[in-house]
């Protein structure tokens, strides 16, 4: 069988030879046009006058459009709340598109876009979470509250209490391939759109809506993205819609890619949070009551903020049984980029809150934080399951065993003692170590999104073409799903042709998001393959007078009634006998029910687990720091492809550690993003990865019936990076008796501040 093998990425050969095509690499018709946006230079205000004469005068400029050029609201929002393609009278953040330049070259379009003369009547902008809260600038009527038990009474009755606050950083996606789209007008008035998008159906939907066409007139194709991380779930809408509108206007193919600086200024990022906590706890570290107030920066438009903020609440417990808890969530509207999906989708932010509480409680009690964490874990499998704050019993909790294993394999306790000794001998450099767990809920919380379709063709020569609703952004989804298809037919991987995601082949796809790609599409492809397989089995069984259930597909052959026939021969024969060799497949996740207003139900099919130990060293004089070693144990269930899964874990950890340490987004007091290029926004570089990096997969299988009992792996490993933040906190705590109150991102400056606080 192909599943469970560590096969290379399906396009690896294309990537290493430079043959793999991204949107901007697709050959265009000779008269294709290029697009660029003219952007707002203020954070909030009314547009009083626009003079685009200089823009129009640039050689090569074909057209310049503003919102007034459309006879209807052109919407690019992924939510029910409207979001215009081009500003409609008011601008809401620095970087909002105001006009669209259509030109004969990318350079001409960009150059012209800088020459717009826009006058504004500036209005007072809301830039900080505090200001937004004070002004009651928010989405939804008031805060959303999920609660269980009586947190206030439990805290009041506790022998110890603490309160505190942590800033949880935002994060720029920095997919290496920037946003890009191309629209090709068709002879019948329809459009083909190539988009670097995690959500082809959304692109199709928004383009059709903008053009007043039925969705059937628009086909969106996505072969691959150069990284997505959530940043291409909704943020590609602008480019695709702009290209389609310009293509209709001109009758020519139109293409658009953001320059990197524009990409960082225009598109949304991970939601930054401020989390306040009040906790009551016993002398042994057990938490009795906990209250969180989560302030979440939505930015200027709704985008995906509501489900992001919901997921932050749903992960406020992480791995801990907290029967008396209250979580209050404010979705605040500010005059900054509209924050959007980013790997973990709010879960990581919620998780940082409770991990911070564990760290703080352990410091207060002088305990090893791992002991506090373990003391508060959910009950292990086999004991009566305990419920999450939203009433879902945790029935698959394996973190007791995983933590125990990781403590042993990472030699945690001896190394913690060694760190203490080392710190006693070193005045200026201090080390820290921390172990943090991850429990991440798998499924879209918007229940209807948990569906997928597939289309499988077997051609008369026995070759197989595979299509499904998932998109490839480097995570190896196409390879994993192809492994499933090859396994169902018992053929070699070379027989399976992977094809681009295409709304004309599989309709109504969900975004490839929420880590759900292989769970959903793997099952849909399995269903399609099994339909064809069952037809073939019935066909050969009838001829051999055998039971169809006894037919085996294995090693490129079909075994029936003692015969072993090559798969290709069976297929050719079936074709000659008029057996249908094409099928669709469909899957919907079972068991899930969720009421997001009440905060009750079973939003997740299952949980994915992991744990990491990180050791760091800091320079107490400068705050500079390094990760010395990371040890990870992660649960992928029965892995579909261990090499791809380990790659996700390594990359997720480094991206998570980057989020909480070096990746700092800075806006000035006018709302201008100052960190809009890799020169100032520091994602981890090759030399930043841990000197020692041990990654192991937990050997187990999913207790739920997922595809070959595997587990989702896209998002959960990112949260292993929280251990880096907690290790830095541990190192700073070595500089005095006080709690260092380390904030994120834990840049050298923040680490330095924490060191000062610890020793103050």
């Amino acid at each position: 069988m192909s599943v469970a093998k560590p096969l290379p990425h399906d396009a690896a050969r294309l990537h290493v030879t430079g043959q793999a095509r991204y949107v901007d690499d697709i050959p265009l018709p000779a008269n294709a046009l290029h697009l660029a946006f003219g952007l707002s230079t203020i954070a909030y205000g009314k547009i009083t006058h626009i003079d685009l004469s200089k823009v129009r005068a640039v050689p090569g400029v074909i057209a310049v459009l503003t919102a007034d050029d459309f006879d209807h609201h052109v919407d690019v929002s992924p939510s029910p709340s409207p979001e215009p393609l081009l500003a409609e009278g008011t601008v809401h953040f620095v970087g909002q598109p105001i006009f669209l330049v259509v030109a004969e070259s990318h350079l001409a379009a960009r150059k012209a876009a800088r020459l717009g003369q826009v006058e504004y009547e500036e209005l007072p902008a809301i830039l900080s979470l505090e200001d937004a809260l004070a002004a009651d600038s928010r989405f939804e009527d008031g805060p959303r509250v999920y609660a269980a038990g009586d947190a206030e009474a439990a805290i009041a009755g506790a022998s110890n209490t603490l309160e505190g606050q942590i800033d949880v950083a935002g994060q720029e996606h920095f997919y290496l391939e920037g946003q890009a789209a191309t629209a090709l007008p068709q002879d019948d008035g329809g459009f083909i759109v190539y988009s670097s998008s995690q959500h082809p159906t959304e692109i199709q939907h928004k383009v059709a809506h903008a053009l007043g066409l039925p969705m059937s007139d628009v086909r969106c194709e996505v072969r691959r993205m150069g990284g997505g991380f959530g940043g291409k779930e909704s943020q590609g809408n602008h480019l695709a819609v702009a290209c389609a509108l310009a293509a209709r206007l001109t009758g020519r193919a139109c293409t658009m890619r953001y320059d990197r600086d524009d990409d960082m200024v225009v598109t949304g990022k991970r939601h930054d949070f401020q989390i306040k906590y009040r906790v009551g706890f016993a002398d042994d570290g057990r938490i009795s009551g906990l209250e969180f107030i989560q302030l979440c920066r939505a930015g200027w438009s709704m985008d995906l903020t509501l489900p992001v903020a919901d997921r932050a609440m749903l992960h406020a417990d992480n791995a801990y049984f907290l029967p008396d808890i209250r979580i209050e969530s404010h979705r605040l509207r500010t005059n900054t980029q509209s924050n959007t999906a980013f790997r973990g989708f709010g879960g990581p932010q919620g998780m940082v809150g409770v991990e911070r509480v564990m760290d703080h409680v352990a410091h207060e009690l002088g305990m090893d934080p791992v002991e506090v964490r373990k003391r508060n874990f959910y009950a292990k499998v086999g004991k009566p399951p305990q419920s999450t704050p939203y009433g879902m019993p945790v029935e698959d909790f394996i973190l007791h065993e995983m933590t125990e294993r990781l403590e042993a394999t990472s030699d945690y306790h001896a190394r913690r003692a060694a760190v203490r000794e080392w710190n006693a001998d070193n005045r200026y450099l201090k080390k820290g170590i921390a172990l943090t767990p991850v429990k991440f809920g798998i499924s879209f919380t918007l229940t209807h999104l948990n569906q997928a379709g597939a289309l499988v063709h077997v051609y008369q020569d026995g070759s197989i073409a595979l299509n499904h609703g998932g998109t490839e952004m480097g995570q190896g989804l196409f390879q994993k799903v192809a492994q499933v298809a090859a396994s169902r037919f018992g053929v070699d991987m070379s027989r399976v042709k992977i094809t681009a995601t295409d709304t004309g082949k599989v309709p109504n796809t969900s975004a490839t998001a929420a880590s759900s790609g292989s769970d959903l599409n793997g099952m849909a492809v399995k269903a399609a393959c099994d339909t064809i397989r069952d037809r073939l089995a019935s066909f050969v069984a009838e001829r051999a007078q055998a039971d169809p259930k006894s037919v085996v597909f294995k090693d490129g052959h079909v075994e029936v009634g003692g015969d072993r026939i090559p798969f290709d021969d069976v297929v050719t024969d079936a074709y000659m006998n008029r057996i249908s060799l094409s099928a669709t497949g469909f899957y919907k996740t079972p068991k899930i029910v969720w009421d997001r207003i009440k905060g009750e139900g079973r939003p997740f099919f299952y949980f994915a687990y992991g744990a990491a130990v990180t050791e760091v060293v800091i320079d107490t004089l400068t705050g500079e720091n390094r990760i010395l070693r990371a040890d990870i144990l992660h649960d992928c269930g029965a892995s579909l492809n261990p090499a791809i899964d380990v790659g996700q874990i390594e990359g997720g950890y480094v991206q998570g550690a980057g989020w909480l340490t070096t990746e700092e987004l800075v806006w000035d007091d006018k709302g201008r993003l100052l960190t809009h290029a890799p020169s100032t926004y520091k994602i981890p570089a090759c030399s930043d990865r841990p000197d020692v990096f041990n990654v192991a997969l937990w050997e187990g299988e999913n207790s739920e019936e997922t595809i070959y009992r595997s587990k989702a792996v896209g998002e959960p490993p990112l949260m292993l990076g929280i251990s880096a933040l907690m290790a830095l906190s541990d190192a700073a705590a070595a500089c005095g008796d006080k709690y260092p109150d380390l904030q994120s991102p834990a840049t050298a400056e923040q680490v330095f501040n924490a060191v000062q606080r610890a020793g103050s």
Binding site: P6, P8, H9, A11, A12, R13, L14, H15, V16, T17, G18, Q19, A20, R21, Y22, D24, D25, H173, F174, Y175, L176, E177, G178, R224, M225, G226, G227, G228, F229, D259, R260, D261, M473, G474, Q475, G476, P642, A643, I644, V646, G647, E650, G651, G652, Y653, V654, Q655, A677, P678, S679, I683, P684, A685, C686, S687, R689, F693, N694, V695, A696
Partner: protein, 160 residues
């Protein structure tokens, strides 16, 4: 416009370019060599690394006219027909890629490194690749692939 001539991947080419045309735009546009990618537009991410007269160069920071008369090698020129260059094979084999967008630049940088330092240490590889950004892999398998391509034992570099 001025005319430039150079050898790209062993073939003589010439093209009319503006003075401001970047080498990467010449390669990706008129020459159709789209394996050289533009990631950051500002010479920092390394997705556009090519070799000019044997030296690794960020093609988005060099004018096409500066490469007049030069020998240019891009990712498309690394394989020998169907036979992958050892560094290409190592990236494929050791999972040194995910989305693949940084991969051509990584391979071109790695090739320049191994030319000047055929048996680098892991630290030397990491240091050398600081100008090449990858957002997917966490770099682990990239370092491993380069170590393997240099003929060194990578069994001690943690499990796949």
């Amino acid at each position: 416009m001025s005319s430039v001539s150079m050898t790209v991947n062993g073939k003589a080419v010439s093209s009319d370019v503006e003075g401001r045309t970047l080498l990467v735009d010449l390669l990706r546009g008129p020459l159709g060599l789209t394996g050289t990618h533009v990631g950051c537009d500002t010479s920092q991410c390394g997705a556009c690394v090519v070799h000019v007269n044997g030296e690794a160069v960020k093609a988005c920071t060099m004018f096409a006219v500066e490469a007049d008369g030069a020998e240019v090698t891009t990712i498309e020129g690394m394989a020998d027909g169907d036979d992958l260059h050892p560094i290409q094979e190592a990236f494929r084999e050791h999972h040194g890629l995910q989305c693949g967008f940084c991969t051509p630049g990584m391979i071109m940088s790695a090739a320049a490194l191994l030319k000047e330092n055929p048996k680098p240490t892991e630290d030397e590889v990491r240091h050398y690749l600081e100008g090449n950004i990858c957002r997917c892999t966490g770099y682990h398998n990239i370092v491993k692939a380069i170590m393997a391509a240099s003929g060194q034992d990578v069994s001690a570099i943690a499990a796949e």
